[in-house]
Symmetry: C3
Subunit: 435 residues, 3 copies
């Protein structure tokens, strides 16, 4: 991909991702089950995914793959037979991984199975109980307040049976075996920014990268959070040595500013690359340190795995009130924000692919740029064009220790301009690429 | 002491120290003499001190122990025979270490032996002349202005004779020979915050620590400033290799905020510990760099001794106007401030004793905490309790390089919470202590 | 020079430099030619320069010495025969290095050879075309607007012939062969702050340093910018190993605050020295990072040369609007600013010559300063004089690792005070110089 710059039409890009999100949004996903399969089937239309099924009961490090969960319907009916809570209206209404239930019970008994958000009376919370058998309904505070009957019919038509945990994986072999890992999670039901925005961004990124032959290899994981990451890591331990670094992709669709959560070490190459992409974007951004109670970087950066994983988001999970509620919906995300995030991921890949260390072949004083047509012939006023300034930076710092990224950071110039400058100097025989 | 937290009643603690200070305050101390002996005898009621006497004339590094100084009485009488300056009213009235004098002299001659503070007309300055024979009176500016007679009777009934320099030492043998040094100075006469506050805090600290068997050894020095530190260092050079680090204790009784003066290197373990104690206290504090014209850390940190000595104070000597005057008295200090300082010293010892490096025994991804009852079973909303957050921090960073203190600093959580978390994980077989 | 402090009369100093500048200002200089020779002849009255001539066509690294350029006269006459642009009024009127021309041409044709500054209608720009044969006139915007004739007589009575590039060099052999490099450029015609201010400062500095026998050797270069630096470096590659560090001297005559441009590495000894000089000056100053499109530090710091070169200026080239125009004239600079800059260069040399590492010969605790008359005998009030504070700093940190400069930086005391303190301790046998 050296020299190739993706420059996709932002409108097209954003629309593609937003449409895909609309298609995926209604599906009731969980950490296992047909919702995940259906989601992967849709992604596979765009990316030739390898779909993997791991048997229930398989030991993955300290964990066991749980039984597979599927659900057909769920409701609470009042005494008039009216569905006052209906899974068909929102799959968030069911405590995710609820065991089956079908009975008439008193409101008193039902109450301990109801979850609502008093501070946001119109929103349904998103809750789950994967590893402790339980059932429940997540409802709005308004629904809760209107429940005046003494008895209700409750039904959750779900089943928990030995089956599989399903995930998708896509690998692009580059010139080098060294690979970059992108990981998103697809276990959340109808929520958009958390989880789904990462899924649609990675789908499109994988689709685009698949059209070229990159220098590095790239791996894309579409997995359930936590148990999926643990499963993949356990089943692919022999792959880990090739992973140079990676990013966990989520919360990339809202209109907040970009936030980069650094790797555990905080000063790895991927950290420098993402920070430079954000600086070069010319837009505001936040940096935050690694936090061991975040998303799957918790697993990737655990002491026995020790991958360098950052996370490039917009507003991080937990920092916006709609997080893990029904308000994290199609209105919270927009195609412009998705496109902007996508562009930043492309820019990260651009630096990954195009960074390098060069050697000034004329290291004693400056080469005479004018003779080579690289310098304005009327000197005196230092009205250098941008790229001319870059010539001096690249020549002066290409001593075999500074990479183009280092030079771009130090000079404050955009990486892409420094790369272009290096290309020009290379053409004129003034540089040699050493790494 | 692993796991033991001192939690003394602050009121009792403060009262004990304040009462002891009231008892010690009137004694006329100096760098040698019976005032020091009397002070040590009182301390010995609480702590089984070892009292050491060093002969006058003994060479201690570049210094010689001076003659011993004692004083019975001193006054200036006017022509009416009235004591207008009286040692019995304040022992500060005598230039400390004054040679005997007893004569009638002209005011003119006397004037060069009088010291007052024009800016604080009610305060008596505290001055000394240890190494150049001299005599003098320290008086208030008001007293000076009222001296209208032409002649005065002056009497200082002191003596300077070959004798001893006296100091007290208390050592607690811990499980390890590695020791922590606490040093205060007891050479000041009736001043409270400077000098005496450190003496009473260390008396109580030694008394409390003496009730347990700590991991580290602890040494407490009650010595005259400068010459005492030099003497102890000279006579105990073979002990120095065991000293891990230490603190000079003074100015701990006023109601100002805590101030920590760092060690010479500034980033030693004791520096990290004290800074964390101050952060965890939730109260304002100041940090300041090592200064070679401070107290006994000057000697402890001299290039040929090179101990790591910080100083945890409240308002430092020299930063409050009452310093080295009669206004540094029982009203400047209070039992609450003493108790607060004491608590911080205990917290320092708590970290010293309880810090350690642990190894996550399940380093590949997270262990399944839910199965072990360590994690709420309804997931989704990240309303983790404080200690749950800590679980992730301790597990993720216990790779054999981060100590609990490092983890507490990095996470921003209190050291005591991180320690508690490590204990829980240890109980569940998820951690092993390695150091 | 150990112990010697230059303390020249600032008024005399400033006047000397300003008068020299007035003498040099009218000369039409370029990168070659008689203007440079005339300038060096004047400098030689004050400093026994070695004047070097390098043949046109000589290969110097990637460059060739160009033909020598000289000029006698130049003008534009209107149809009335009136000189509307006259080289005799300002040598900036000619595009520096213009080839000869003598013809009547239409205004239309002439226009592409005219340069003016629309934003500063009274100023003549300073422009050159060294390496591409061209001719042109630099005029004020007002002159341009008054050119209403259709035809003009243009004459540039210059010549470009094989000849020499000329530069001056002065070397002072010190006790050590290690040398400090000062470099200024004398290729600019009638501009003052850029270029000439550096020339007059270095002339005076060389003149003063020539009166003593310094510890280090000093080299002063009076060269044309870029091609001169490249020539000197190429012809003196074997000298480079002796160069410890150096400064490029320019823009030292305006009344702006001092600006130090750091070396490429940014934390070399010369960087610490200049920053300390600026701090000790008690005046405001700016620091800025190395920039590879600056002056001759571009050549000195190129990867194959790699000298440590900073630049101590006042307002840097490019940061003031008069830069490279006729407004960078004798009014823009003043003798006080020149004297202030000169003093700072002397202070740099003072630290270079007097810095050193000492060893405390009494490293265990403090030596008894009182016995040696180095400490006030009435102790207690910490009203230490400045130098007494320094005694403790020098003694405590003279462990063989801290230099006097390190101690001065760490203590915040002036370098000269720390040096004085070290001298006193040396006299008393308390220190030994180790480096």
């Amino acid at each position: 991909m050296t020299g190739i710059i993706f420059n996709p039409d932002p409108e097209k890009t954003g629309d593609f991702m937003y449409c895909l999100m609309k298609e995926l949004y209604p599906i009731c996903r969980s950490i296992t089950g047909d919702g995940v399969r259906k989601t992967l089937t849709i992604i596979k239309k765009h990316v030739p995914l390898n779909i993997v099924e791991v048997h229930s009961g398989t030991q993955v490090f300290d964990w066991k793959i749980p039984k597979e969960w599927n659900i057909k319907d769920a409701y609470i009916k009042n005494l008039s037979g009216e569905r006052i809570v209906d899974f068909n209206k929102s799959n968030l209404h069911v405590l995710n991984y609820s065991i089956p239930v079908n009975k008439k019970i008193s409101f008193e008994e039902l109450r301990s199975h109801l979850y609502a958000l008093p501070d946001y009376p119109d929103w349904i919370p998103y809750l789950s109980s994967y590893y402790q058998e339980n059932w429940g309904f997540c409802i709005t505070q308004n629904q809760l307040q209107n429940m005046n009957d003494q008895y209700y019919d409750v039904c959750i038509d779900s089943n928990l049976k030995s089956g599989f945990l399903t995930y998708g994986e896509f690998f692009i072999q580059g010139e080098l075996n060294e690979e970059i890992l992108f990981s998103c999670y697809l276990c959340h039901p109808s929520v958009c920014n958390d989880s789904l925005s990462g899924v649609v961004l990675l789908t499109y990124l994988a689709h685009e990268l698949n059209t070229i032959k990159p220098k590095y290899s790239y791996r894309f994981l579409f997995i359930p959070e936590t148990i999926g990451a643990i499963s993949w890591l356990c089943l692919n331990e022999n792959c880990l040595k090739n992973i140079k670094f990676g990013l966990v992709v989520t919360c990339v669709g809202d209109n907040g500013i970009s936030t980069y959560q650094k790797t555990k070490q905080g000063d790895n190459l991927i950290d420098k690359i993402v920070e430079k992409v954000l600086i070069d974007s010319g837009k505001d951004f936040n940096l935050r340190n690694f936090n061991p109670s975040g998303s799957d970087e918790r697993q990737y950066s655990s002491p026995g795995i020790n991958l360098q994983m950052g996370s490039l988001m917009r507003t991080p999970y937990g920092d916006y009130p709609e997080y893990h509620t029904s308000a994290d919906n199609l209105e919270l995300v927009d195609s412009n924000s998705l496109a902007d995030s996508f562009k930043k991921y492309l820019d990260v890949i651009y630096i990954v692919e195009n960074n390098g260390i060069y050697l000034n072949l004329n290291p004693k004083c400056e080469p005479q740029l004018g003779r080579r047509g690289l310098y304005d012939m009327i000197g005196g006023r230092r009205e250098l064009l941008f790229d001319k300034e870059g010539l001096f930076w690249v020549l002066n710092f290409s001593d075999g220790t500074y990479s183009l990224l280092d030079i771009a950071i130090r000079s404050g110039m955009k990486f892409s301009d420094i790369k272009l400058t290096a290309d020009i100097l290379l053409e004129h025989g003034l540089l040699r690429k050493v790494l």
